[in-house]
C-alpha cells in the first residue's frame, strides 16, 4: 500500500523526563519516528519537555514544543498546529496515556486529529486488564487467573478465590509502580490499599502468582495489510517475579524448542490481531510453567517500549522507525531492510550471536532501600553486550555495567558478605549473579541452585562453565603455564584481560601483551539481521574471539567517540546527547564517526547515527581493541561523562591519540592539589579545602577550615557519597564508609559555604578564544547537588559586575587548562564574593539544556573545535543573548523507593530533568513544575510547616499565598509565627500530636500544596511521613525556601498571565 497522502502534518508526543521505567529508549524511538516520517515527506510537530533529548533538537521536527506533557497544554498545541494525525505509540506510557486522554476528552475529534499507530479502542483493550483478559479468552489463550477490585472488600473476595501468594497491580501506573507480591493476608491487605491509592482510577488487579515461571517476551510488528512478523524473542534469566526492566534478559530465547516457540508466536499473532493494533510494534509477555509447559499471556504493550529498543539493537531491525512508516500506511514489503538493502523489511530477523542485557541499579544512592527486586522496577539503566555465546555476552555485559566489576567475579572485587547464601539466591537482588558464582564455587549443586532461584538450569550450567574456567586459570603458576589454548578458551568464555591477569597474577597490560604475543586477538563481526545470509551494508560491530574479522576499517579520516555506558543517576541521557552531537559534527566535517557504547536504550547506539558503531563495553581493553583495529586520528573522551574520562589517562598511556583538552589537563582539574595552585596563580578564590587519605587527616583539615565541611571521594560523578558534615563524629563515620567508595583515592574535604547561591557556567574554547554558552543560576542554595537543583537562565538576580567576573574567571581557567572543547565551571556567590567550586573541562550535564535554551548546539561546536576548527571559523564568537527565560527542574525517583525520604542534599538523586520555556520567569517556572509532575495549584489550600531558621525568610512568600486566595494550614510553631504576623491560617497537628494531622489532611486530598522545610540536616520522622504522603498523593511539595519562593512566583504567574505555547524554533527567529 502506498503511504497516505491525506496526512500532511503529524504530531508525536515524547515521553518526557527520564524516570525509572521510562528512559532514553523513548528518545531513540522518538528520534527514529521523527526521521522516518520526515523522510517520507510529512511535517512533524513534536511535543516533549525533556531538553536532554536528541528528538527535541530543532532540526528533528518542523515544530518542536518543549512544553509540559499535560492534556490542557498539548490541546493548546493541537489548536495552534492543527496536525492531521497523532502518533500515539512513540512516547512510552506517558505518550500513550496522554493520547488516550486527548482522545477521550474530545480534543482530537474537535480538531479533526486522527489517532494513528494504535487506535483508542486497541489501547484500551491492551491496557485495561479486564478487557485484555476477555479478549484473550475469546481467542482461546490462557491468562493468569484473577480480577479487578476497586475497594478492599472486593480485593479480599478475589484473593479468597484464587489463593495466596497473589500479585497486586494498580491500573494505569508507570513501570508497575505500586505493584507487589503478598504471601499472607496482612501483606495482601496492605499492598491492596497502597495499590488502590496509587492507581489514578483507584483500581487494582489481584491475580494468581506465577512466580518462578519462565518469562518470555516477543516483539511483534503488524502493518495495515495485516502482515505480522516477530522481530525478536527475549528470554528472562530472572524468572517471573522480577520486573522485566530489572531482569537480566537474553535474546533470542534459549530454552524453547521450536514447537514451544511457535506456539508463542502463534499466540502473539492472534493477540496483536485481536487487540487490533493496526500498525507498528507491540511487546507481548508470556510466562511458561517450567515443568508442565503451561503458557499464559502476561501482558501486551501496544507501543514501542524499552524491550523494543533492546530488540532493535539486538537484531539490527529498527522497530520504531518501521512502526512510524507503517503508521502512515506503508507495508512491510514496501520498506527495504536498511542493513541488507536488497531484501525487504517483511521478514523475521535471525541472529547468530547471543545478546545479554543487564540492568544497572543505584541502591547505593538510597541507603534506606532494600536491594530486593520485585515486580516494581527499580533499575535506572541497562547495558547490552553481544557475544558468540551466552557466556561471552554475559561477561561482556557485566564489565559494561561499570560497577567496578570486570566480568563474573575473578576480578579481585569479590562479595565478602556471604552469610545466608541460600537466602540471597532466593531473594532476587542486584548481586544475584555473583552469589550464584559463589554458590557454584563452594560446590553447591547446579540443580539445587536452579531450584532455589527458579533460574533455568541451562543458564546455571553456562555460568558453571565460566566458574570452571576460573578454577583452571587460578591454578596457573607461570606465563608458560598459561598455555595458548587455555588463554584462548578463557577469552572465548568472555574473560577480560583484567580477570585473567588477576587470576594469573599479572596486571592487565602485561596480560594484554602476552595475549597479543600469542596471537590471540578479538575479531569483529557484524550485526546483520540475517545471520550472514545476505551481505550487510551497515558496519554495526561487536567483538568476539573467532577466526574471521569483518570490521574492514576504511581509509577515511576518522574519529572515535566514546559513549557514556549505562544510564545511572548522575550520568544519563545528557551525555548521550553530547555524543550524538559529536557524531553529527564529524559527519558535517567529512570525518568518519565511530561510536563505541554499551547502552541499548540510546540514540548513540542507533547504527544510523554514526558511520560505524561498535557495541562494546567501555573498558580499557575493549576500547584499545577497537582503536588498534580502526587507527583513528583521534578519540573523543570528553562527551560521555565519567565513563570515558576515566579511560583518558590509561588510553593516553597506551599511545591512543585523545583529542580536545589533553588528558593531563583533565586530570589537573580533578587533582585538588595541583588545581589549587593553579587557582592561586590565577587569583581566583575557592573554598578552603584539604585532601585526606584517612580519618585523622580528615579531622585535622576540618579543624583547620572549620565546620560545616563538604566531603566526597575524588573522581565521582553525581555527588556519589558526597555529604555535608557538621561535626567530628559524623565525619568519623563518613570516613569509615567513604574509603571504600573512593577505591583508594583521596577524600576531598571542602569548606561548605552555607547559604551561598550557586551558578553553573558552560563555555567552549578552541584554545585561544573562550565563549560562554550560558550562565545558569541555581534556584536551590548551595548544599543541594547541582543535578538536583532547579536553575534558571539567564540568572535573575546576579549583579552584572559579578557576571563579568565569572566570565573573566571562566576565560582564564579555560585558557590555563588549554581547553579544546567544552568546560563547565560551578561557582558559588556569597556576599558578593565569587568562589570556584568545581571545574570540569568536559561536557557537563547541562550542555543539552543550555543548547536548547540558546538555540546553539554547544556539543556539536565543541566536536568541531576538537578536530581543529576555530570558533571564528565556526562563527561562534559571542555569548548568545536570549530574550526568553528558561527554567530547568529535576525529576526525582522517590516514588519508586517506598521508605526513602524525599529531601535533597549534596548527593544527586534525580533521574531526569524538564525544561520550562517562556517569556517570563513565573510562567517558565510554572511550566517546569507542571512538566516535573508538580503542577502548581491556582486555588485551594496550602499546608505549611517551616523550620525556625526559614520562617522570616518565607514570610512574604506565605503572605503572597494568602493574598492570592489560598487557604493556609500550619503546624503549631509555624502557625503562631504566621498569626503573629497577621497571616490567617488554620491549625493542623503534626504526626503524633493528634488527629486530624497533616498527613491525614494530605491523604484526604484537602491540601493542594505542601511547603515543608526541614529542621536540620537529618530528616525527622513526622516530616518524612508528611513528605511521603504528599508524594504518594501526587500533590506538589517544596522542601527548600528558594523552592517555595519559585513556586509562589509560578502560581502568581499562572493566575495573572495566560499560559501559551511556543515552538522552540520561534524563540530563535
Amino acid at each position: 500500500m502506498p503511504k497516505r497522502t491525506d496526512l500532511k502534518k503529524i504530531m508525536i508526543i515524547g515521553s518526557g523526563p527520564i524516570v525509572i521505567g521510562q528512559a532514553c529508549e523513548f528518545d531513540y524511538s522518538g528520534t527514529q519516528a521523527c526521521k522516518a516520517l520526515r523522510e517520507e515527506g510529512y511535517q512533524v510537530v513534536l511535543v516533549n519537555n525533556n531538553p536532554a533529548t536528541i528528538m527535541t533538537d530543532p532540526e528533528m521536527a518542523e515544530r518542536v514544543y518543549l512544553e509540559p506533557l499535560v492534556p490542557e497544554v498539548v490541546a493548546k498545541i493541537i489548536e495552534k498546529e492543527r496536525p492531521d494525525a497523532l502518533l500515539s505509540t512513540m512516547g512510552g506510557q506517558t505518550g500513550l496515556n496522554l493520547s488516550v486522554k486527548l482522545a477521550e476528552s474530545g480534543v482530537l475529534d474537535k480538531y479533526g486529529v486522527e489517532l494513528i499507530g494504535a487506535k483508542l479502542e486497541a489501547i484500551r483493550k491492551a491496557e485495561e486488564r479486564e478487557l485484555f483478559g476477555e479478549s484473550m479468552r475469546r481467542i482461546g489463550l490462557d491468562v493468569v487467573r484473577g480480577s479487578y477490585a476497586t475497594d478492599l472488600k472486593g480485593a479480599r473476595r478475589i484473593v479468597e478465590e484464587i489463593g495466596l501468594p497473589a500479585i497486586i497491580r494498580p491500573s494505569f501506573t508507570l513501570g508497575g509502580t505500586g505493584g507487589g507480591l503478598a504471601e499472607d493476608m496482612d501483606q495482601f491487605l496492605e499492598a491492596a490499599e497502597t495499590g488502590l491509592k496509587l492507581s489514578p482510577i483507584s483500581k487494582i488487579l489481584v491475580e494468581e502468582s506465577v512466580l518462578g515461571w519462565k518469562e518470555y517476551e516477543l516483539e511483534v510488528m503488524r502493518d495495515l495489510k495485516d502482515n505480522v512478523v516477530i522481530i525478536c524473542s527475549i528470554e528472562n534469566f530472572d524468572p517471573m517475579g522480577v520486573h522485566t526492566g530489572d531482569s537480566i534478559t537474553v535474546a533470542p530465547a534459549q530454552t524453547l524448542t521450536d514447537k514451544e516457540y511457535h506456539r508463542m508466536r502463534d499466540a502473539s499473532l492472534a493477540v496483536i490481531r485481536e487487540i487490533g493494533v493496526e500498525t507498528g510494534g507491540s511487546n507481548i509477555q508470556f510466562a511458561v510453567h517450567p515443568r508442565t509447559g503451561r503458557m499464559v499471556i502476561i501482558e501486551m504493550n501496544p507501543r514501542v517500549s524499552r524491550s523494543s529498543a533492546l530488540a532493535s539493537k539486538a537484531t539490527g531491525f529498527p522497530i520504531a522507525k518501521m512502526a512510524a512508516k507503517l503508521s502512515v500506511g506503508l507495508t512491510l514489503d514496501e520498506i527495504p531492510n536498511d542493513i541488507t538493502r536488497k531484501t525487504p523489511a517483511c521478514f523475521e530477523p535471525t541472529i547468530d550471536y547471543v545478546v545479554t542485557k543487564i540492568p544497572r541499579f543505584t541502591f547505593d544512592k538510597f541507603p534506606d532501600t532494600d536491594d530486593l527486586l520485585t515486580i516494581q522496577m527499580k533499575s535506572v539503566g541497562e547495558v547490552m553486550a553481544i557475544g558468540r555465546s551466552f557466556k561471552e555476552s554475559l561477561q561482556k555485559a557485566l564489565r559494561s555495567l561499570e560497577t567496578n566489576r570486570y566480568g563474573l567475579g575473578a576480578d579481585g572485587r569479590e562479595i565478602t558478605d556471604l552469610e545466608n547464601l541460600e537466602d540471597k539466591l532466593k531473594r532476587p537482588n542486584s548481586q544475584r549473579l555473583f552469589y550464584i558464582r559463589h554458590a557454584l564455587k563452594s560446590g553447591m549443586d547446579e540443580d539445587l541452585i536452579s531450584e532455589i532461584t527458579y533460574i533455568d538450569p541451562w543458564f546455571i550450567s553456562q555460568i558453571k562453565e565460566i566458574v570452571e574456567m576460573e578454577d583452571r586459570l587460578v591454578k596457573v603458576k607461570s606465563q608458560i603455564g598459561l598455555t595458548t589454548d587455555l588463554l584462548r578458551s578463557a577469552k572465548r568464555l568472555g574473560f577480560s584481560d583484567r580477570q585473567i591477569g588477576h587470576l594469573c597474577k599479572m596486571d592487565e597490560i602485561e596480560l594484554r601483551k602476552l595475549r597479543k604475543g600469542r596471537g590471540i586477538q578479538p575479531v569483529f563481526k557484524q550485526v546483520d539481521t540475517c545471520a550472514g545470509e545476505f551481505e550487510a551494508h551497515t558496519p554495526y560491530l561487536y567483538s568476539t574471539y573467532e577466526d574471521e574479522d569483518e570490521a574492514l576499517p576504511t581509509r577515511r579520516r576518522k574519529v572515535v567517540i566514546l559513549g557514556s555506558g549505562p544510564n545511572r543517576i548522575g550520568q544519563g541521557i545528557e551525555f548521550d546527547y553530547c555524543c550524538v552531537q559529536a557524531a553529527f559534527a564529524l559527519h558535517e566535517e567529512g570525518y568518519e564517526s565511530i561510536m563505541v557504547n554499551s547502552n541499548p536504550e540510546t540514540v548513540s547506539t542507533d547504527y544510523d547515527i554514526s558511520d560505524r558503531l561498535y557495541f562494546e563495553p567501555l573498558t580499557l581493553e575493549d576500547v584499545l581493541n577497537i582503536v588498534e583495529r580502526e587507527k583513528p586520528e583521534g578519540v573523543i573522551v570528553q562527551f560521555g561523562g565519567q565513563t570515558p574520562l576515566k579511560l583518558a589517562i590509561p588510553l593516553h598511556n597506551q599511545g591512543v591519540p585523545i583529542i580536545g583538552t589533553s588528558p593531563e589537563k583533565i586530570d589537573l582539574a580533578e587533582d585538588r592539589e595541583r588545581f589549587g595552585k593553579l587557582l592561586h596563580e590565577l587569583k581566583i578564590d575557592h573554598p578552603e579545602y584539604g585532601i585526606a587519605y584517612n580519618e585523622k587527616e580528615a579531622l585535622a583539615i576540618a579543624a583547620k577550615i572549620g565546620y560545616p565541611v563538604l566531603v566526597r571521594p575524588s573522581y565521582v560523578l553525581g555527588g556519589q557519597s558526597m555529604a555535608i558534615v557538621y561535626d567530628d563524629s559524623v565525619l568519623k563515620n563518613y570516613m569509615k564508609t567513604a574509603i571504600d567508595a573512593s577505591l583508594g583515592k583521596a577524600i576531598l574535604v571542602d569548606k561548605f559555604l552555607e547559604k551561598a547561591s550557586e551558578v553553573d557556567v558552560d563555555a567552549i574554547s578552541d584554545g585561544s578564544r573562550v565563549v560562554v554558552g550560558g550562565i545558569m543560576q541555581h534556584i536551590e542554595r548551595a548544599g543541594i547537588h547541582s543535578g538536583d537543583s532547579a536553575c534558571v537562565m539567564p540568572p535573575l538576580e546576579i549583579p552584572p559586575e559579578l557576571m563579568d567576573r565569572m566570565r573573566e574567571a571562566t576565560r582564564k581557567l579555560a585558557l590555563a587548562l588549554e581547553v579544546k572543547g567544552l568546560i563547565n565551571i560551578q561557582y558559588a556567590i556569597r556576599n558578593n564574593d565569587l568562589f570556584v567550586l568545581e571545574v570540569n573541562p568536559r561536557a557537563s550535564r547541562t550542555v543539552p539544556y543550555v543548547s536548547k535554551t540558546i538555540g546553539v548546539s554547544l556539543a556539536r561546536l565543541a566536536a568541531k573545535v576538537m578536530i581543529g576548527r576555530t570558533l571564528d571559523e565556526l562563527g561562534f564568537t559571542e555569548e548568545p543573548e536570549i530574550k526568553h527565560i528558561s527554567v530547568k527542574e529535576s525529576v526525582l525517583p522517590f516514588v519508586k523507593f517506598p521508605h526513602v525520604d524525599t529531601l535533597l542534599g549534596p548527593e544527586m538523586k534525580s533521574t531526569g530533568e524538564v525544561i520550562g520555556l517562556d517569556r517570563s520567569y513565573g510562567i517558565s517556572m510554572a511550566k517546569a513544575q507542571m512538566s516535573a509532575g508538580n503542577s502548581l495549584p491556582t486555588s485551594g489550600a496550602v499546608a505549611v510547616s517551616l523550620a525556625d531558621k526559614d520562617k522570616h525568610h518565607l514570610l512574604l512568600t506565605i503572605r503572597k499565598l494568602e493574598q492570592l486566595g489560598f487557604r493556609l494550614y500550619a503546624t503549631t510553631g509555624t502557625r503562631s509565627f504566621l498569626t503573629g504576623h497577621s497571616i490567617k491560617c488554620e491549625p493542623v497537628f503534626k504526626v503524633g500530636e493528634g488527629t486530624p494531622n497533616i498527613v491525614d489532611l494530605i491523604r484526604e486530598n484537602r491540601v493542594d500544596m505542601l511547603i515543608n522545610t526541614p529542621i536540620g540536616e537529618k530528616s525527622q520522622y513526622d516530616a518524612k511521613a508528611m513528605r511521603r504522603a504528599a508524594l504518594t498523593q501526587g500533590i506538589p511539595y517544596v522542601t527548600t525556601t528558594s523552592g517555595a519562593l519559585a513556586a509562589v512566583e509560578g502560581i502568581e504567574a499562572l493566575l495573572k498571565e495566560e499560559l501559551t505555547v511556543t515552538p522552540l524554533q520561534e524563540y530563535f527567529k
Binding site: N227, D258, K259, R291, C346, P349, G532
Partner: protein
Amino acid sequence: MTKPKRQSRRAVLVIEDGRTFQGTSLGATGETVGEVVFNTGMTGYQEILGDPSYDGQIVAMTYPHIGNTGVNATDIESDRIRVAGFVVRECSGRYSSWRATHSLDEYLKEQGIVGIEGIDTRALTLHIREKGAKKGIISTVDFNYESLMNKLFKYPGLVGQDLVKNVTVRKSYIFRPGTEPESPADYYTYTPGRPEQEADTGPEGQENKHYIVAVDCGIKYNIMRIFSYFKCTVIVVPATYSYAEILSLNPDGVFLSNGPGDPQGVPYVVQTVRELLEHQPELPIFGICLGHQIQALALGGRTYKLKFGHRGANHPVMDLATGKIEITTQSHGFAVEGFQDESGTWHITDCDELEVTHLNLNDNTIEGFRHKTRPVFSVQYHPESSPGPHDSWYLFRRFIELIEQRKTAAVGSTA
C-alpha cells in the same frame, strides 16, 4: 538431565576449495562427506536433523548455541537423523526442557552421525554465501589434508544425483496418528505414525474424509500430521510407484512430498507425475519443495541450482493473489526457473499453463505456482513448518478444498 562431560576430541571440516576449519568432535566419531549448507533457524535443530530433504548434506547451524533443549521423542520428522553431518558453534553440555529425554550429542552418537563443533560458523556461512554451497568432509580420524581432499574429489556431489532412493519408503503405508490433535501445534498430544507398515487398502473409521496418496520423496511427519488434523487418510507410497500403481489406490488427491537433492536426478518421478497430469486432468495434486520442482519439470519447466540455497525459517514469501506475506520454512538448493515480463507479471519459464502464485521477496525466486485450468498447485517452501512458522498451513486447506470441489462436482454430474 546432568550428564558426564564430553571428551573433547579433535575434528576437522575441509571444504572442496581448500578452506579448513579446526574444531572438536560432536556426535559420532568417523568421517562424513556431503554438500555443506547453512541453516539460519534459531530453533528446530531436532526437526532439521530428521528432515529427509537434508540427505547428502552437512548442515551448519548459524545460531551459535545448539542443543539447549536436548532432544525429545515427539519432535521428529522421520524415523531417523537424515543429515550427512552436523556443524555447530557450540553444543550445550546440559540441556533444559521438560520434554527432553537425551542430549543432542547422545542423539547424534546413537545414530552414528558425525559432527563438528567449536568452529567459526559465521565464517563458514559467509564462505558459503560468497562461494556457493560446496562439497565438504568432516573427519575425526583423518587429519591429512591431501587425503581428505582426495576423498572429497571422489564424492560426486548432489547435481544430477538421485538422492530420493536413499530416503523414500520401500513399501507403502498408512500414516496413523496416535490420537487426533486439536491443532497440529499441540505437539504433546500425538505421536508419529510408524513407517514400513503394510498399506491399508480400504476406508476405515467414520472420521475419514479424503484419501490422499503421498509420493514419498522424503516426506516429513508433520505433513501427515496436518493431513490427519484435517481428517484425511494419508497413504504414503514409494517414489518409484508408477502412475498405474498410484491410480489403483483411487486417491482423492495426490501429494508430492519434499525431498533431497536435484529434481533432475529423479526422472522416474517426473515421468509418473507427467502421466498423472496427462491422464487425470481432474485429480488435485499438491507439491512442495522437491515435489514442486518435479511438478514444474513434468509440465515442461526447468530447474536450476541456487548458489547456496534457502535454508531457514524466516523467508518472506508473498502470495501474489492477496499481496499478503507469509514467513516460511525453507530447505532447498534448487529452484524452478521463472521470469518477470515487461508488465511485471511473473511466469514459469516454458510453462504457459502455469501461473506464478508465490514469490520469494528476498531474491525474487519462484515460490509457488498453480495450473491455470487444473486443480494442480505447488510451493517451493515447507508449509508444514516443523520447524518454523505456521503461516502457511492454509495451503493444506486449499488442497482439501480442491478435493472437495471435485467431489461436489462429481456428485453434481452424476445426480
